[in-house]
Amino acid sequence: MINTDVLVIGAGPTGLFCVHQLGIIGLNCEVVDNLDKIGGQCIELYPDKPIYDIPAIPECTGEELTNNLIEQIKPFKTKFHLSDRVEEVKKDNDHWVIKTSKGKEFKAPNIIIAGGVGSFEPRKFLLKDCEKFEGKEIFYYVKDKNIFKNKIVSIFGGGDSALDWAIELSKTSKVKLIHRRDEFRGADSSVQKVKELEKKGKIEIFTKYQLNEVEGEKNINNILIKHDDGSIKQIQTNYILGFFGLIMKLGPIVNWGLNLDKKTIQVNTENFETNQNGIFAIGDICTYPGKLKLILSGFHEGALAARGCFKYARPNEKLKFEFTTTSKNVQSRLGVKPND
């Protein structure tokens, strides 16, 4: 069981700046994010795109913004739990017990949900048949490539992951690459390589096809793929890999007893607390009259929510308002040396 003043769910820009705001008022926190890296939408969806509306930063990319936020919170040595999803939140007297999909447990008087539009997860095949094979013969990422050795693997997708794995697995497996159109969107060099391997008979490519049916009782025997023109082809297959990028899923958050409005959480605008005492929601995931889904709004919300956490974390103390420029207290938390 990990004890902390605040558990922050989500390491997007909002969660990151909130860590800073918690740090300067002397609260500690830990952060959980389902992605394998820090930065939320900025790093997953648009690392190279420029952002022009961060106050006092005329232009920076999603990745630069993330790196700057990480730099800004360095003094607090915050622990990040990546590739892990918060599943369960339960009240236990005056604190919350939080469980993750990897089985970690936290105990905290406060939770700040900075979960964006939900956790990033792989997009899946939406055929019903696929569910029963998921994790056994249908995968959306590769954990152990050895299981594919000398087997027939059908790979779906047209981006870099699909191409890279087609190339890699073609060394030891029979690979079929299936994509819904003729153009692949992966790197040119990978597209070239895949086409060469096709010529050498190492990879079979089927374009303008999509998965239509999976045949097999206990194990997959065949798949049926459907062409744009409606015709169907049967392919023998042992394993299926689907690479369709990531999608944001609200997921377990709907089960935590919070007042929701479509896919967002209702909060007050004084400290962004939800209907549950000690659970706050900030950034894209919160809603209130006038909400703007902008990074700058998330920063403001995080500053107020952090202060809202103080009374639950330090019930016997009073929070003092202090400036970073003039407060010795704050500066020592930031690790600023006296004559800096």
């Binding site: 939408q41 969806l45 539009v117 047209g158 981006g159 369709f244 990028g245 896919k263």
Partner: protein, 106 residues
Amino acid sequence: MPKINYIEHGGKKHTIEVANGLTVMEGAIQNNIPGIDADCGGSMACATCHVYVKEEWFNKLPKKEDGEEDMIDMAYKPNKYSRLSCQLTVSNDLEGLTVQLPEKQA
């Protein structure tokens, strides 16, 4: 204001007046039409605003910009009449446009 027809997967039709300049996605969201999620708010990063455009309309629409086809790769059951509704800006030329909503967005 141009009228846009949204046909749900089950066949239910909604005819909505959408102001010029809004997108077909925004028209659906503002009028609570089920079947369009638009998780990324129109920044062409989610493909959950996917629609099928009736054949007779498909060729009249402005062509897809860079990146739209890549994003459609990730949509649920795309076909050759697939578009992202956040990339379709309503104007008088679109009066009577009919879009079919997929069974699900994700």
